[in-house]
Amino acid sequence: MSALQIKKGSSKHSAYNLRPTFSDVQEAHTITVLVENEPGVLARVIGLFSGRGYNIDSLTVAEVDHEGHLSRITIVTTGTPQVIEQIKAQLGRIVSVRDVHDLTAEGSSVERELALMKVNGSGDKRVEALRLADIFRAQVVDSTLESFIFQLTGAPDKIDAFADLMRPLGLVQVARTGVAALSRGTD
């Protein structure tokens, strides 16, 4: 159970004057959820999102502690600040959830994603694709005379940028893992 991080917008003098109305600005947040690795736990988490109408932009899940039976689910979601707070509170009350952290709100974090991209082409386009891959430090993990599969890791916007560049050069398929993230520093 995570502690509730509600900004106490109040003082002893005039709490309601300070009270901000709910903002309608949409924010993207990366939320990391430590869960007990038991059957159905992923369904509980994504069922919460679909049932309450929250967005999932990206989702990754894998066991991170075999002996402790723990998995980490990383979710990138979009919503108003109020919705983001609701999402965290709702996640926190799922019985199999041990811990909820909002990496976006809690300071800097490292976010990485892995992508595989298949680019078909020949001639100049093929050479250009390879040259750009080198700039992005993408690796070639499969090759035929008319195609490459590039493997690329990085923050989501780097992956987006690479995909944008590959599109005119014959990008035919993309597979992305979704974001894995951890907070920076010792915590």
Binding site: M1, K8, V95
Partner: protein, 584 residues
């Protein structure tokens, strides 16, 4: 000493260890081993209901009226799917119940076996937590854990799905003290700094109001006592949601009555005009708030709730306190006393004068009749003739439910069982069965509408079989009254499918089940008829033929704020318009 036993025996043993004395259920192929164990013991009584939905509602009634965890036992497939409405009802109203469901044997799961359903999948969104037990060695500790999860924090329903082979297989029994309760330990103590800030706000507030809810009841009788102490000592007015009735006595001098869509005029205007709102164990439900952007515009809002997700969900809170109502009230009282028991007496007196003015509107006044029984009159008489008795009230859902909340007075917690959040027609009768089982000597009355009542009328069989003297007080208007009222308000008086044709003769129906039936249609006969019902030692169906087109007032039309209440029929036709029309 280790004890080896079958899974089925473990179920019964674990229930005994949890102090369970009653299980409501219905047998079937996938729970036969458990029923066989129940047959061979006498510590736990099994109440055979007539439909699994009723088993869950009965368990809810049992739980709400005792404060203990209610237990229901159902078979796989249709048994489990029939339990879904009850589970959802309990989730919405935070009622602690444990539902045990049978499942096809583990080796057949996923094969579309006879009476197989993905029970944990279906019930995942309508339980607080659920488990599919695939190994007998885990079964007893899962049951103990289930009771812990159901009753701690914000209470709620849990379900344990037990495949038949797990019931037959043997393993070692884990006794309750050794069972790991897991990491589920909700916070019960509130933040002292915020509690102190709230006490400071109480000291200076000019127009404070307590807005309390079902959380006070769920926290236990001690919380209600502390609430009464705080309210009496500070002299602050108090209103309550439908779910919280009885936490503060209806005869108490600070009582404003229920608030919300069909709440009292003075309660809603106090909410609208207050400068400090102290929400204790309520959740700003849409039946309470009305239009959000005009909800209590001038108030500082404090919110005490054990569930962090309730805070700031719909209404922005200035003083959020996460914790158990009982603990927080205790701390509040302590701090308030230590700081010298201060309130703004002068301003409070002025506030009360304003409230007295609102009370003079007498919003519950209705047009009386000497020829037809007005539903409000029927409830006033029921109240007068049962006052002071050891009385429990359940209701179905609709107009009668709101009238019951308005015209009956509740002096104590756990005496009022109604489906608030989900609004489940068919809740009241089986719930009254559960209440009567828990309190065999008490007077248990289900205030019903004829349409709701028919939804679970098969429970007459249960009432008669177990000699449960539940009184079914049916306000029969031959209409789906609340639907009809909304059609009048919103749909130009086109009463689409909102009347009941071919209603049964309720007296004959009672007699067919071996119970007593009473019919009453003349106001002059009403008192005698009610006394006849009360004096009969056995279940009674009371068919009270009431005014067919009575509307339930006061009413805040959907989409409107608290200060735009309708007080009578003159204002009602087509009263819901614009954006309010899409709301329910």
């Amino acid at each position: 000493m280790t004890r080896q036993m079958t899974g089925a025996k473990m179920v019964v043993q674990a229930l005994k260890d949890q102090g369970v004395d009653t299980v409501f259920g219905y047998p079937g192929g996938a729970v036969l081993p458990i029923y066989d164990e129940i047959f061979q013991q006498n510590d736990i009584q099994h109440i055979l209901v007539r439909h699994e939905q009723a088993a869950v509602h009965a368990a809810e009634g049992y739980a709400r009226s005792t404060g203990k965890v209610g237990v229901a036992l159902v078979t796989s497939g249709p048994g489990a799917t029939n339990a879904v409405t009850g589970l959802t009802d309990a989730l919405m109203d935070s009622i602690p119940i444990v539902v045990l469901s049978g499942q096809v044997p583990t080796f057949m799961i996923g094969s579309d076996a006879f009476q197989e359903a993905d029970t944990v999948g279906i019930t995942r969104p309508c339980t607080k937590h659920n488990w599919l037990v695939k190994d007998t060695k885990d079964l007893s500790s899962v049951i103990h854990q289930a009771f812990h999860v159901s009753a701690s924090g914000r209470p709620g329903p849990v379900l344990i799905d037990i495949p038949k082979d797990v019931q037959f297989a043997s393993s070692e029994y884990t006794p309750k003290p050794k069972a790991p309760v897991g990491h589920y330990q909700p916070q019960v103590k509130g933040d002292m700094e915020t509690i102190t800030a709230l006490v400071e706000a109480i000291e200076t507030a000019e127009r404070p109001v307590f807005y309390t809810g079902g959380g006070v009841i769920n926290s236990g009788p001690a919380a209600s006592q502390l609430l009464r102490e705080l309210v009496e000592a500070t002299g602050i007015p108090i209103t309550s949601t439908l779910m919280g009735l009885g936490a503060y006595p209806a005869s108490g001098k600070n009582w404003l009555g229920m608030l919300g869509m069909h709440g009292l005029y003075e309660a809603n205007l106090a909410m609208h005009g207050c400068d400090l709102m102290i929400n204790i164990g309520a959740r700003f439900d849409d039946r309470i708030t009305g239009r959000l952007d005009a909800f209590s515009p001038k108030s500082k809002k404090a919110h005490i709730d054990i569930d962090p997700s309730s805070i700031n969900k719909v209404i922005k809170t200035d003083l959020p306190i996460v914790g158990d109502v009982g603990h927080v009230l205790e701390d509040m009282l302590k701090v308030w006393k230590a700081r010298g028991r201060k309130v703004n007496r002068e301003a409070l007196a002025k506030w009360w004068r304003q409230i007295e003015e609102w009370k003079q509107v007498k919003c519950l006044t209705y047009k009386t009749s000497e020829t037809t029984i007005k539903p409000q009159y029927a409830l006033e008489r029921l109240e007068a003739l049962t006052k002071g008795r050891d009385r429990y009230i359940t209701t179905e859902v609709g107009q009668h439910q709101m009238w019951a909340a308005q015209y009956l007075g509740f002096e104590d917690p756990n005496r009022w069982m109604t489906s608030g959040g989900l609004g489940t027609m068919g809740y009241g009768f089986p719930s009254s069965v559960g209440v009567q089982v828990a309190h065999p000597e008490a007077l248990v009355i289900n205030v019903a509408g004829e349409a709701s009542w028919l939804m679970n009328m098969q429970e007459m069989g249960t009432a008669v079989q177990y000699r449960l003297p539940v009184k079914q007080f049916i306000l029969n208007n031959e209409r789906l009254g609340m639907v009809r009222q909304w059609q009048q308000l919103l749909h130009g008086e086109r009463y689409s499918s909102s009347w009941s044709e071919a209603l049964p003769d309720f007296v004959k129906l009672a007699e067919a089940f071996g119970a007593k039936g009473i019919i009453c249609k003349d106001p002059a006969d009403l008192d005698d008829a009610i006394m006849e019902m009360l004096n009969h030692d056995g279940p009674v169906i009371f068919d009270c033929l009431v005014e067919k087109h009575e509307n339930c007032f006061p009413m805040i039309p959907s989409g409107e704020p608290h200060n735009k209440m309708l007080l009578g029929d003159a204002q009602a036709t087509n009263a819901i318009a614009g954006k309010g029309a899409v709301l329910v």
